[in-house]
Symmetry: C2
Subunit: 327 residues, 2 copies
């Protein structure tokens, strides 16, 4: 089994690489070879005895895309993307990486010949949806993104479905929920507080909450996101049918419910480290995001998210903090 | 008022040009200048005293797209497209004309500067939808095209919405119903019979019906299609909101109802000129098409289709046959 991961140096890419290496296999076939691509060549993983090719390349470059699939990976995890905030600030860069990059990769696969039809797992996003929303968003709801990032993800979803229908590739698109708790330092993303109000208090640090307690979102852990990708790689394409893009399950909860979870798990003292500092801009941006889905198709196809926000916090404590909380 | 029409040599393009010239104005502003673009330079319209530029060009060529908007048309009607059957047979040509061509035109507008923001009316299609469908398709139904043509139209819709949201252009996408009765000779399109079972009998000729009488579709006349385009050009963008792509109203009817209309209007003898010759392939293709919509937003915004298939036939008799029927 040869696997290509684009965006392999990102948070999800690194966790996916580590899980694959630990599992030593994918879809019951032994993992023999990894091609890891990112803007800068990703670090070679330790503890993997198979062949590794680490590529630093611009995925929107046709030659780079062709080089990435030159050795015909069996499964492609296409995670490479410019994030939402950057795609909004730099329109051309967002289009180039998120749309043209995906197209270059799909075209490279198409150009490799009719006997090459790899499983192509595309990391899409619930940002393909834009307000106004029904109480719960069904699987057949219109894609009406309100950001350039969401638009780029949605156009790639459509392209991937057509390439799959025509037999150029064997695609599955998965719309990831808001991924929380993200490890690492606080960042300036509008969604950053969803992670930081859990992560910083658990580290003994203060976190700032810029929105009111009633704000809802659709959450899954980094661990669940990796599980979604692995499950998508193993899906039976015929069970999927022509609608190959799926909204992933998640946990719908309010900020108040997130804080209640933190208090249950880590105690009052930790939960008290959240300071309220309302920011109307963040409140407005986050208010337009989808927050509740009815992802029946993904559930029927066996995708599993956490059952509660408590589980999401515990996954973070286990995976990032070695099971320990700063009291 | 300066108007650019791409695909100006096509059936709808010619009718739109004629209607604009007859009206001498658009949105209460006198028509002064026309730029007509198609693969081969469109014929210069007679009876127009204003300035006409006729361009034969490949719209997917960036220089051609820039040349088309060099004189800053106030309104752009973007009709240029490779039709459904051809886009399915020739994938690369379909992508090049339908997707890259639209993108080149939008990029040309974006590149012309922040003080240029023309109304951009995009002729989309109900082919952006793909089975399975609910009984009646709502405005917020998912785009799940089952053809490359439908995919290309859907991706341009998304791109147009983002360019509009960002202020690069003032876009409106209208999803045209099946346009019937198309004038001219029978063609090989899978949808061709919807027109030919009316057109040929009215001309005293035999028509072949390849599907069963229960097949439904969503119809509007060429006259209604031109009215949709003109109405879209006049729409208030703020009333439209961010969901700028609209399913047009139409007449939902079965083939049996089409034939009953023909009999009512032209008599038994004419209706008897339809010969049944079932073609399972055509039946299968047409069976996957959407046939009934609930286009509330378009109706609320003032778009008007025919109220019955009788009206569609009468529009054809008036517009193409000078009011006369071969008995």
């Amino acid at each position: 089994m040869h696997i290509l991961i684009t965006g392999a140096a990102g948070m999800i890419g690194r966790k996916l690489t580590a899980r694959l290496i630990a599992a030593k296999a994918l879809n019951d076939r032994p993992l023999e070879r990894l091609t890891l691509l990112d803007v800068s060549a990703p670090q070679r993983p330790e503890s993997f005895s198979g062949q590794v090719e680490s590529m630093g390349a611009d995925i929107a470059d046709d030659d780079a895309a062709r080089a990435a699939i030159a050795n015909r990976p069996d499964v492609i995890f296409h995670l490479a993307a410019v994030v939402s905030g950057e795609a909004e600030l730099d329109f051309e860069k967002g289009v180039r990486v998120n749309f043209d990059g995906s197209r270059a990769l799909l075209e490279a696969v198409r150009g490799a010949g009719t006997d090459y039809r790899p499983r192509f797992v595309f990391a899409s996003s619930i940002a393909v949806f834009g307000a106004p929303f029904p109480e719960s968003i069904p699987d057949d709801f219109a894609l009406t993104p309100l950001t350039s990032y969401g638009t780029q993800k949605a156009t790639v979803e459509l392209m991937l479905a057509d390439y799959t229908r025509r037999g150029f590739v064997d695609g599955v698109g998965i719309r990831l929920p808001n991924i929380v708790v993200r490890p690492g330092k606080p960042n300036k993303a509008a969604s950053g507080f969803f992670s930081s109000i859990i992560r910083e208090p658990l580290n003994g640090e203060e976190a700032v909450l810029p929105v009111d307690d009633g704000v809802r979102n659709w959450h899954a852990s980094p661990r669940a996101a990796v599980s979604f990708l692995l499950h998508a790689a193993a899906l039976d394409g015929t069970a999927l049918g022509p609608r190959i893009n799926l909204t992933m399950p998640g946990v719908c909860c309010t900020v108040a419910e997130q804080i209640a979870s933190l208090r249950r798990i880590a105690g009052d003292k930790v939960a008290m480290r959240i300071r309220r500092a309302p920011d109307p801009l963040v409140q407005r941006i986050v208010g337009g995001w989808p927050s509740r889905f009815d992802p029946r198709r993904a559930l029927a196809l066996g995708f599993k998210a956490e059952a509660s926000f408590d589980e999401i916090i515990r996954a973070h404590i286990d995976d990032e903090l070695g099971g320990r909380i700063a009291s």
